[in-house]
Symmetry: C2
């Protein structure tokens, strides 16, 4: 990797019993993966844990020390099973309390809608001390960032809106160049040739993805790397290898 | 929990760069979650890691010591990026070699189809020593089980078929009873009442899931527990609480 290239890494922590019981199909992981790839951040690991404080704290601490960023989803709503904010405070061992920056706008928000600021709703103003707020243009109650951990909602529309709010403040790295080659051979036919090319081109990652349309197998080959020339070189060799099989 | 009730836990490890780049949306996590819940196994954690041996080994070893079962998906095909079998052997520190139980049927399988048994395809016969095979009725190359770790394919149709093959051999626990209550109040309106009920009913888990149809918020409340009576008791209290808000 040349000097101008840089790598920024991230992990995601999705929080919620409903993701582990099958009740809810997560839609945030794939969204975040695509979003981060597009802006030059490498998503390196994902974990899903239940609504259990000890599990959240253990996962946050394992991930935040290992990656540049950790993005969490879920558990910041107004009900008793929303324990993420407290768990984040626990992970960083910092105090958490009602945050004046949130309480004021929150009171206005609900008053305007003729809704009561119940203790449950007020819970959403509990923010760990010193956290940066992440704007929520959908439903007011913000996410927040403590050091390198960004805490966001689980509802996909709100998760996505918070990600938009937070993105301009993120450090990003050199984007990956990615080229996809489709071929009508099954993986087993091209596997040996591909392995030899992969070994000669260690500056790129070559992925091989089988497809089956119910009758025939085909393969999608994805070449990724931070240097465009390296990616092009590997692709040229792969195309030549494939054309020799055809011949 | 009464004496006849038992808990069997599991984790899932999904393996593949493509899941973390956003190229592929995982479809196995939600499938496994629903499948395990239905047969009485609690999915407690999910991790997604890239095609990196060290990451796979670390995750397998962290998860297999903590849960009754670990289910992996991905990385057992014929190409150079399929490194799961080797990583599993590494995690257990056991040898791995071509397995006669697989090589014979594999040779027949490809001969019948007029396909060559390339070195790449032969790689799929590499199985850690002492592993139990998991039948693959879709495309022949089997999954395998080493102690409490079940190693399966990433292609959803094959993952699902292997899960069917493996299920009869799994130890299962007492199934969770689950009741879903829908209400037309937003979470913030019912949150305080729900929290009080949750505190009195610690034998059940009460989940609260907001919905937004673009205009109105509503809430789905899910009560889960191993004892049917405990679930029914909590539901009764929740219904009463909701009716009092209506009044």
């Amino acid at each position: 990797m040349s000097a101008e290239q840089s790598v920024v890494t991230a992990a995601m922590l999705a929080i919620g019993d409903e993701l582990l019981s099958g009740r809810t199909k997560d839609r945030n992981i794939a969204y975040l993966a695509e979003f981060l790839t597009a802006i030059g951040i490498d998503l390196r690991e994902v974990r899903i844990v239940p609504d259990e404080t000890a599990d959240i704290i253990a996962a946050v601490n394992a991930l935040r020390s290992r990656y540049n960023y950790v993005f969490t989803s879920g558990g910041i709503g107004p009900t008793h099973d929303d324990i993420t904010a407290n768990a984040i405070a626990g992970a960083f061992d910092i105090p958490i309390d009602y945050d004046e920056r949130v309480l004021g706008p929150m009171a206005q928000h609900y008053e305007k809608r003729g809704m009561e600021l119940t203790p449950a709703r007020k819970r959403m103003a509990r923010i760990p001390a010193g956290a940066k707020l992440i704007d929520n243009p959908v439903s007011m109650a913000p996410g927040f960032q403590v050091e390198n951990v960004l805490v966001m909602a689980g509802v996909p529309s709100i998760f996505q809106a918070m990600l938009e709010s937070a993105a301009p403040g993120l450090k990003t790295g050199t984007k990956l160049h990615s080229v996809t080659l489709n071929c009508n051979f099954p993986e087993g036919t091209i596997g040996d040739g591909l392995a030899a090319i992969a070994q000669r081109h260690d500056a790129v990652a070559i992925g091989s993805y089988p497809r089956f349309d119910g009758k025939n197998y085909s393969t999608q080959i994805v070449v990724r790397g931070r240097d465009e020339k390296n990616v092009a070189d590997a692709c040229r060799e792969i195309r030549r290898m494939l054309s020799e099989i055809k011949a």
